[in-house]
């Protein structure tokens, strides 16, 4: 599913004395099967932005298109179900949305709300448990007996069970340990690769941006500074400095070597990309012939 923002603006409590503008004039496009990362400081409007995509917040101005579905300031709540069915949303600390007595019923909750039969929803729940790396023995347990990391997997399974075409992830790895983070990011990448899910990832982890995203949107004070490939965004040191964003460690390291005189064809963003280029320069190896 492709997503297009056209001059989208959003103001909290519009029309009251407490009105606070949160987004202004945002335009960008995520192609079908795309992987977009959204970065920016806390309070820059990232969370407000993603909530527009399934109309939890409706734009005050402008227009959003998700496939053939259009959201404008006039869109009414009654029309939203078909949209929300296709846009899965994993909030920060999604484990706090669990409420059912058993894990299976919690995962089946979403699909059932969208009209899937109980039997079908329960089957999907079992499938999704496997997808997120938990076995079927979890199905009848209470979600509240699990560890934090397991609860998060169950919550994500609950979103995946709706079989969305777009998956929005708001800092999905916050609070997990490194192994949990790695497994989680691998899972999302697999869904993206194998099932063609369009992914929108809000993150502070530049390593994840470099490793997974096709494009990165940089937010600052409610405005979209740029939306381009990670390569384009991270390659301009002056721009990076002025926009106050972090760069991946590999890029930072490569720039330090660059200052000593190492020439990069393209700024490496990951350890692997860096190693690839180093091999090219390595005495007695790669392309450097004396």
């Amino acid at each position: 599913m492709a997503i297009t923002f056209e001059h989208v603006g959003y103001t909290y409590q519009a029309g009251t004395p407490m009105a606070t503008p949160a987004l202004s004039d945002i335009s960008f496009t995520v192609p079908d099967h795309g992987y977009l990362a959204i970065i920016g400081h806390t309070g820059s409007g990232k969370s407000t932005l993603i909530q527009q995509i399934n109309a939890l917040l409706k734009p005050t101005t402008g227009k959003i298109t998700v496939d053939d579905f259009t959201i404008t300031p006039q869109t009414t709540n009654a029309d939203l179900k078909p949209l929300r069915r296709h846009v899965g949303m994993v909030f920060q600390f999604p484990e706090s949305q669990l409420f059912e007595e058993t894990i299976q019923r919690d995962i089946a909750f979403g699909p059932q709300n969208f009209g899937v039969s109980e039997e079908e929803a329960n089957q999907r729940a079992l499938d999704m448990l496997k997808t997120v790396g938990l076995d079927e023995s979890f199905a009848d347990r209470s979600p509240f007996e699990l560890s934090g990391g397991q609860m998060r997997r169950v919550a994500i399974a609950g979103v995946l069970a709706m079989q969305p075409k777009v998956l929005i992830l708001d800092e999905p790895t916050a609070g997990l340990d490194p192994q949990g983070r790695q497994e989680m990011m691998t899972l999302f990448n697999r869904l993206h690769q194998e099932q063609g899910l369009t992914i929108i990832l809000v993150t502070h982890q530049m390593e994840d941006v470099a490793a997974y995203a096709d494009e990165v949107a940089v937010m600052q004070a409610g405005k979209l500074l740029t939306c381009a490939t990670p390569q384009e965004v991270f390659s301009d040191p002056t721009w990076v400095q002025n926009s106050d964003i972090d760069v991946p460690r590999a890029a930072k390291f490569a720039q330090r070597l660059g200052k000593r005189g190492v020439k990069w064809d393209q700024l490496p963003l990951t350890a692997d990309q860096l190693a690839d280029q180093l091999v090219q320069h390595w005495p007695g190896m790669g392309g450097q012939h004396e």
């Binding site: 806390t42 934090g148 990391g149 000593r260 190693a275 091999v279 320069h281």
Partner: protein, 279 residues
Amino acid sequence: MENIIDVQHLSYRYQDTDGRPALDDISFTVRAGEWLALVGHNGSGKSTLARAVDGLLPFSEGTVTVGGIKLTPETVWEVREKIGMIFQNPDNQFVGATVEDDVAFGLENRQISRAEMVPRVKAALDEVGMQTFAQREPGALSGGQKQRVALAGIVAIAPDILILDEATSMLDPQGRRDMLALVQRLREEKHLTVISITHDIDEAASADRILVIDDGKLVEEAQPAEIFAQGERLVHLGLDVPFTAKLKQALQDRGITVPAGYQTTTEMEEWLWQSLSNT
């Protein structure tokens, strides 16, 4: 140097019926002024260990001695006088209605007179750079600011030991760096002993020594460089893999041999530059 914390054969079960103990026969010591990092998976027992040291859990076996005082139900308040603790969730440890009320909370508990409290609260807020926020309510603060207020609350009490229980894990990278720099500065100024429970490689790198906890047991104890030298295996210990270790692995996969052991980024940069210029 003397040992400010001495833990011997500490075991703890959440429930008597639990087969596996949350802490299993743990012994270690911390020297005064040392920075100790506790690492391990989520659920490995490292937070439980920190709580036991502060007398927040009634452990069944073993002894904990803090600043020469053996921890018992009678001495627990005396022990807590020596320890300041910051927890993971910035919201759930903010007791006061405003920043200054929160900093004063610990002083109120110790029945410090108001005349003495006012300057101490102010000085503590100055110390963490939050003086202009004194009247703010917690809702108006970022996670990082709330954690700095929590630090101010500890500075106001002036304990000898600071325990950070994943205090930076819910912060964004900027907040994390600010917090770490602040802890490093306060530690210098106040000669604090620091125990930090963390997954963060930069925080662990600040430590003099790292203890690895797994499944309630103390499985490893070494200096950061020694621990970091384990490369990709670090993920299984509950730590991030340092960038230099990732690069080393990537180079080795491509047939370039990198010297053994752990390199800091500067060491790695230097070595690479030497090798590249060595034509």
